[in-house]
Assembly symmetry: D2
Homo-oligomer: 343 residues x 4
């Protein structure tokens, strides 16, 4: 294809890079099928007027003022590969003109769900702790080492938040005959039931589960909604696994609940990241720590590129994007994610 | 019921005890519905002649000589709750007379399968190691800590041995979209296929898997069949998870294969148990050690009692036992388990 | 609640009625929680100006001119319970202003999928035909009656169109170990794969299936896309089951393909409905006829009411609708459904 | 292999034939790997003494007297491909000597289960009846034709008998979200639960199901156990599908229950087969008749050969047979099947 006949894509994937989100083959496909202009968030607004007028897809989420948007008359879709939504463009105007805003965060669902299951099994069986004892010759054999051990199979499982991640986790649990209930205030009960999950209130999830997985996004309304009272409601010895954002939890109260021996816990997210070297959680027993590693797998990033290419291909044929998740007028303003600082 | 009308059970469940394998309620049921004589392996042969003549069920596997067996004219079933089969009774004569010999080892399938999955996820994501680093402030954040991380979802999984444990493991993997192949020389290919697993040779399993689970029993023929050559065949970086018996593996070769960086490993079983304090495996990195804790959960032992009660109830109605696994004339002599020394 | 405080709903559900789509209990809930104005398509435009200004939800799809729309300043959502989309309102303007247009057609997926499976099993086993012979004493016993019989289990199944209905059908097939492939030009391959279905071209589906299910919607582009050449590509003796709209098929060619003995067929839809008494398809053997009965179950209509109530409840809380399917700017104009004339 | 070195098989598969149960390829395999002597039930006892002494496997169930059995000193297994068990050999003596008696009836489970599901869907949706009306121009369109229609998805399903066939049926129902309960007096409750089925009494199954499938074998104890009182217990309008043997049902009472309009029914088996031309069931409406065609598919017979070959191969390696079902000392005498007269 002649360069000028090809659809124009502006690539500004910070903090990702094209090499993070595309395989060599996918990147080749991108450059062969589209005219690609690479820039940065800072330079985005300074693109030539002609480029702005022709750009159909933006890969990334550069700041876009209303004035800038109005100069982008061909814009069809912002493909946000940072995957959170920052309030840096006039979403209402984009939606009014029919411009899609989509995110690729679903790629993290499977890796995070696997990490969540791994953390749950470690809490249930003491795998990491027992290995550490074994290395120094202090292991206990057989049933002697299993006083606190229990099964996930047949257990009561609670999932707080039933978006992509909650669903991925629920799928992994299929083979466990687990009784799964979920609290998600943004979803009608019927959608939970269709996924084989019992709709429940937050208190039911807390009070009636052996394992509680937290996969809820932070919104303007739910900061710290899991607090000391919440942990007190949990079953003695139950496991609390935090996978989404630290801001939904009163972290000090969580540490107290574990230190008191009431519950055990694991978390992939922390109030500050990186965490100060002297943060008290570092030394808490029965609290497995993971340094925001649950989602950041190479294979996940590469799926972003796949989603971007598939959705651009659909839009080239006049169809709506289907693989990425669309931002909604109603909820875009409620999201409270911070910019992503590392991949 | 009048005591003398009740069916006579002799209980000699060593190394278990009735309290290990029965809940309070089950034990009450046992004593209310059967006349129970409790004894030990050593005293078993010295039971009164009248007791031997009337005993219908033996719970345990005491040594039984041919002479002793011939005095047990009412014997219908030996319910072996040690769960391995020791060559301490005249099995051929028992089978000829139609006496069932059954074991309760299936109770361990689910706990061992969960431990196996937990070990696999820990190898895939470095959960225990990362937690240890986190505790001392040396954690790496996000993708930086995930260089070797990978997914089980969609992976090539090999299962060596497809008995109760292999099947339990395969069920847990349902939600992972994994491509599972299995090598089991004792099973026809069609049974593997019916379970959704691809029949494979041992070499295919070794060469074409990202995760290899070993759940094969030890027989007179397969000691050390997984050796240095086997590990060399495995994919670079693949995970080897040993869950059944250490005797199927050349353990020194396994340690070498992990130390060389070719594979990573986890094991619940060891050549000697307990293991000497200075055994080299203790210090091997990328080798998760579990001190024979995979099966020995209280919940598993209690299921033994449930199986025993259900099968005795079937036999009381003139039906064959169905829940416990029956020893087979053909294979009873090939098994090479050692007596169980701890619960 | 005071009437005037309640959200205003205008109900114009033709050709449905509130009693068709709501249970008594749901209808009570509707009237207690909303102010409901009932009208007809013809009278809709003549509603008082104050009513038009206040209406937030329209249940139905009355004709709405641009002028009328501009007087409906509070409109948030058109809940189309006819479930097809007719080009009788200024969709672009609705979308621009952020008004949702949603349909409830997903309620038909499960009933239609069950009918489709029933038709397939009847074609595979000759159930209806054998019963008719039995009634007149001409039945053939055992294998003699099974010359053309075959299994669905393990068969090659092709699904043309993988929307709600294709997915419902695919779910019903889970227990059949069937190898399912699907052609859907509106979906990226990855979505088919995520549903456990192999993406395929139309010709692959036709040429490599024992059972072909057609569940594709009619669009401006695909009228008659399954024609004589398509049927000729099918395997000898394969089954063709038409469940969506007759317009996607060259019906005369389908009849010929069945009459020639090349394939067998079943259809729930016909070029004219009702069909002339003398239409040739009536007498074709190996062609099971169903008079557009696949979806029209009372239980399906009642689910419409459930979806409407759940989505209005979400929107009352400021959230987007989730249960009904949203019309898309890109595709609304391509749909070619006729108005529904019967329930 | 030299002929005399090969294992000797006597083939007497009446009423089957080797060509019915083996594909060409399998038959070739059989004759290349075994020395095969073909005979008939009548001539079996007249085989040369040397043949009797060497025969290791019998394919079929010829009459075997105790005297004859004692001359068959190498006999290892009777592979009964008629699949029912007739009381024509000294089973106790076979079992005492460790000779396996196995049957291949499991091959019918899948075909019968599919037919059962097809009959259930036809009863639920009136497929055959509606097609007959359509052919004569009397069809009713849309909802008008669906007054009695209902869904299997989400329905209460009862299964009477949970052997191979009950399990096959339960597997087919996986995609229907059905609530399945089962009555099987020969199985412990835990086995039903492991299969995801709720254990129930016979009356619970009858009283609380929308669809009742009867797949129980006839024994010396259960003839006619489903009678007028049973049908009266069923829900108004519920469906009764008989798939195993007519002798478990009081057939006249079943006809009455359908004629009265209380239930609808389908049956693959009848008190006499073939059935007299004037039998009243022929004219009963809402009673779908199938002339013992549910199992007798060519593909099922060919699986028999596959099972026979796989199990002989296991036994050649000193392992027990695994694919065929073994007759049990306890239950062999209770079975009451008649000889099979047609394939």
């Amino acid at each position: 294809m002649n360069k000028s006949e090809r659809t124009l894509v502006v690539s500004v994937p910070e903090p990702r890079s094209l090499d993070i989100i595309f395989t060599q083959e996918q990147k080749k496909h991108l450059f062969e099928n589209y005219e690609v202009v690479e820039t940065t968030s800072i330079d985005f607004g300074a693109l030539p007027e002609e480029t702005l007028a022709r750009v159909k897809y933006v890969i990334g989420q550069p700041p876009i003022s209303l004035d800038l948007f109005e100069r982008m008359g061909s814009l069809k879709c912002v493909l946000n590969v940072e995957s959170n939504l920052i309030n840096n463009m006039p979403y209402d105007h984009l939606f009014a003109r029919g411009v899609h805003v989509v995110t690729t965060g679903a790629v993290f669902a499977e890796p995070v769900a696997e990490m969540g299951l791994g953390l749950a099994l470690d809490l249930a069986r003491g795998i990491g702790h027992a290995n550490a004892l074994f290395e120094v010759g202090m292991e206990r054999w057989g049933g002697d080492g299993n006083k606190a051990a229990r099964l996930l199979s047949g257990a009561d499982v609670g999932i707080i938040g039933f978006g992509d991640l909650g669903r991925a986790l629920n799928r992994l649990l299929v083979g466990f005959r687990a009784k799964v209930k979920s609290f998600d205030p943004w979803l009608p009960a019927s959608i939970l039931r269709e996924n084989g999950v019992v709709p429940a209130t937050l208190n039911e999830v807390l009070e009636q589960s052996d394992f509680v997985f937290v996969v809820a996004a932070v919104t303007s309304e739910n900061a710290g909604f899991l607090n000391g009272e919440s942990f007190a409601r949990m079953r003695k010895g139950a496991a609390f696994i935090l996978l989404s954002r630290a801001d939904v939890v009163d972290f000090a109260a969580l540490i107290s609940a574990v230190e008191s021996g009431h519950i055990v816990a694991a978390s992939d997210v922390f109030p500050e990241e990186p965490l100060p070297k002297d943060h008290p959680v570092r030394r808490v027993q029965n609290f497995i720590k993971s340094a925001h590693r649950a989602g950041a797998l190479d294979v996940a990033f590469k799926r972003m590129g796949d989603m971007v290419l598939e959705d651009m291909a659909l839009m080239e044929r006049g169809l709506p994007p289907l693989r990425c998740k669309r931002a909604e007028r109603e909820t875009v303003a409620r999201m409270r994610s911070k910019p992503v600082t590392t991949n």
